[in-house]
Subunit: 231 residues, 2 copies
Amino acid sequence: MEVELVESVLKSNDRIAREIRERLEREGVFAVNLISSPGAGKTTLLEATLPSLQRQGVRCAVIEGDLFTTLDGERIGRTGTPVVQLNTRGGCHLDASMVAAALEKLDLKAVDILWIENVGNLVCPAQYDLGEQLTVVLLSVVEGNDKPLKYPPAFLRAGACVVTKTDLLPYSGLDLERLKQDVERIHPGMPFIPVSARTGEGMEAWLAFLERERSRWQGRGGPAAARMTAG
Amino acid sequence: MEVELVESVLKSNDRIAREIRERLEREGVFAVNLISSPGAGKTTLLEATLPSLQRQGVRCAVIEGDLFTTLDGERIGRTGTPVVQLNTRGGCHLDASMVAAALEKLDLKAVDILWIENVGNLVCPAQYDLGEQLTVVLLSVVEGNDKPLKYPPAFLRAGACVVTKTDLLPYSGLDLERLKQDVERIHPGMPFIPVSARTGEGMEAWLAFLERERSRWQGRGGPAAARMTAG
């Protein structure tokens, strides 16, 4: 019976996620859902990414998911990016209805990329579609080599794996090549992007990947086609 | 309605956890539930702890919780400690019924300390009593200063906070004193034990804490009193 309820919760989540996805397509907003363990560096990656996008004229907004506190929202706010803080009050993931509520507080016409920073949790967020176009799983080099094999759902769901904190590689004992092979085993062909937001290493590749994904989405007729359908 | 079901699941979990606790008291087994984010170093701490306890004549057993794989169970097995692997197949935490099932596979008469390594997740395991006598939350120095304030339930539930990977402190940017103050704010008086399983730093303090807690439990009449009641 518990399983049935979980299924119906997921079904209802998926319905709302579909509506969000359609709405974002209509508005021409590319949404990226960031998932990872606590402390893998989602907020830090955003702090390094947002100013670069700003300089390129790409308008961003951020939905910040946290159990409690507005600490991350405040950090994002300092980059000058519009941010909506969602507190799950103990809940272990964002769901589509929370994202739908957050969208009401944003001027989507003024947004090109909507970032959704999920609750720090490598397990539960993998089950919940938020209506995003791209899910990115972050994994820091200090979490250990075994994480992709031990937490496959997040790596299966994601469209890219960003390996963070590569400046700590010399001290971490991590074998980056083996990690890449393990990720490849779980999700063949998924882009694997090592970065250090601290030193800037790999940030260019990350930004280029992002631009490529967004163009591909636009090229698939993303916003335009959606607008035509809507019109 | 979802909330009601969650409450009833938690109630049934708590009932099973109580039964486990009573049984472990009767058997004189001190159980420790380890919770943390993925990659904070639960298995590594155990790998460093078990041989020392073995040398002191303290007999251990381990219940290993993972979504998938037996990687951690195999690592523990190499220490010569009896281990039962629990795979949640995607589930984000262990629950009491899983632990009850694992107990059937252990000879509790030959166990002084039962370690329960929970699924790597700083959120969900905090809600589930497993019948343990002591919960320990691990936090690695590379997860960032803000984790206690952002994930308070785990720090409220725990009876001790072990800060792992202190050998990485020089590279982490973490302010250990501030972390200690934040933990103290959330859970006043909770022991705060920095360790590096890699260099051995802090391991003595950790083992001394453990012995103190176990003696206190025994002194409270833990196993003896329970046996008398049972008799």
